[in-house]
Symmetry: C2
Amino acid sequence: MVAKSELKRIRSLHQKKYRIREGQFLAEGMKLVGELLDSGLEPVGLYSTAPEELPGSQPITEGELRKASALVRPSGVLGVFPIPDPEPLTFEGWTLALDGVRDPGNLGTLIRLCDWFGIGELLCSPDTVDCYNPKVLQATMGSIARVRVVYKDLAETLDASGLPVYGASMEGEAIGGEQPLSPGILVMGSESHGLSGPVRDRLSQTWAIPSFGRAESLNVATAAAILLYEIRRATRK
Amino acid sequence: MVAKSELKRIRSLHQKKYRIREGQFLAEGMKLVGELLDSGLEPVGLYSTAPEELPGSQPITEGELRKASALVRPSGVLGVFPIPDPEPLTFEGWTLALDGVRDPGNLGTLIRLCDWFGIGELLCSPDTVDCYNPKVLQATMGSIARVRVVYKDLAETLDASGLPVYGASMEGEAIGGEQPLSPGILVMGSESHGLSGPVRDRLSQTWAIPSFGRAESLNVATAAAILLYEIRRATRK
C-alpha cells in the first residue's frame, strides 16, 4: 500500500519542472531500474508488484502502479532516483553532441547508440529534450546508466574543448573513404532545423552520408548510427 | 464544410480493418500528400484548410479537421488514397525484409531508409505493422510514395527468391571488411524477438555490427541503417 500523496509525488516526476524541483527522476521496468542500481545509483524509493523479486522494494498494487506510471502498460517496477550532479566533460575519445533534438524516442535511441559504440559522453544543447523524460528513459533500454548526458551551451563548449568538430550536411564530404580521423566531437542537428548557425560556424569538417535514392534526409538517430559506425570502422585499423 | 458522415468515414481509416474494408488509406500533411500525388496515385478525396494552395481539394475547417485527423496537431491537409494493388516482387538489386516489426515509428523510419539507400522493395512478414497505419506514414516523411511494401510469408518468399539471405545477429561475422557481396535479401528481426526460427534456418550469412560498449542491442532501424550503409559502401567500388 503506497500513500496517495506519495503516488502523486511520483507521478509529478513525469514533468520536467517537478524533476528539477525535486532533483529526482522516475525509472520504470526491471531492466532500466536494474541497470541504474548496477551503476551504483542509490534509489530514493523502489516499488514492485512482486517485491520479493526486487530487494529493498516496497509492495505496490496494480491499481497504485497505474496511478504513478508514465507507461500505457506499466511493467510492475518503479524506481525513484536522484538526478546525478552534473560532472565536467572529459572529452576522452569521441563525444557526441546534439543541437536541439526534440523527440524523446530519438534522444533515447541516441543514448543507446552511444552505449553501443563506446561513446561515454553526450553533450546536449539546452533546448534538447530532457534525458530524464520517461519516454527518453524507456527508449534508452537501460543505456542511460552508462552514458553521461550533459546540457550546456554548444558554441561555448565546442570552443572550450579545442577539439575538431564534425557535422553532417547534404553538402559535406562523402564518408566511407580511408581518410585518417582525429577524435573529436560529432554534432547532430535537430529533426526539423538541422544544425544551428553558431554550430555550423564551428565545424572543422562536414560529412555527407551517400544517398542512393530520393529521400531528402534521414532520421537523426539513423544518421548518427551510420556516422558512429563509420568513425569506429575508419579508426579500427 | 465536410459532411459528418464523411468525416467519420475518413476517421475510420485510422484503423486497419476499415482500411482493408474500404481499400483506402488516409495521408496527412502537404509533404506526404504531395509526394503521393507526385507518384501518380489518384486521390479519392483531398481536403485542405487552405484549398487555394492544393488544386482539386475541397475546403475543410479546423474543427472538421480535428475530427478526421489522426495527429495531435493536424497539419491542414488530408488526402484519402486507394491502397495500391499488391504487385509481385522483382528482387532487383537488394531487398530489405522485416520479420515481425511492430512499432509504427520503426517501420516508417525503415521505409525512409530504403528510399535513402535506393532499396525499392520492402518485404514484410504478415505480422509486421501495417504500412498504411497513420503513424507509419508520418514517419516515412513521404518515402512511402517510392518504396513498394509487400506483405508475404517470409520463409516461402525467401525460398522462392533463390537469393542469398543475410541477417543480423550478435554471433555473426563482423561487418566492415572488404569481402565481396552478392545482392540478396537483408532480413531484420522484430524489436523483442529478433529473427524467427524459420527465417534463421534460411540465412546464407549472419552479420554482427561491432560493439564498443555495453548496450545489449541496437534499435531495429538504427541497425538496419548501419547494415544498408555498409552494403552500399562495400559494393560501391
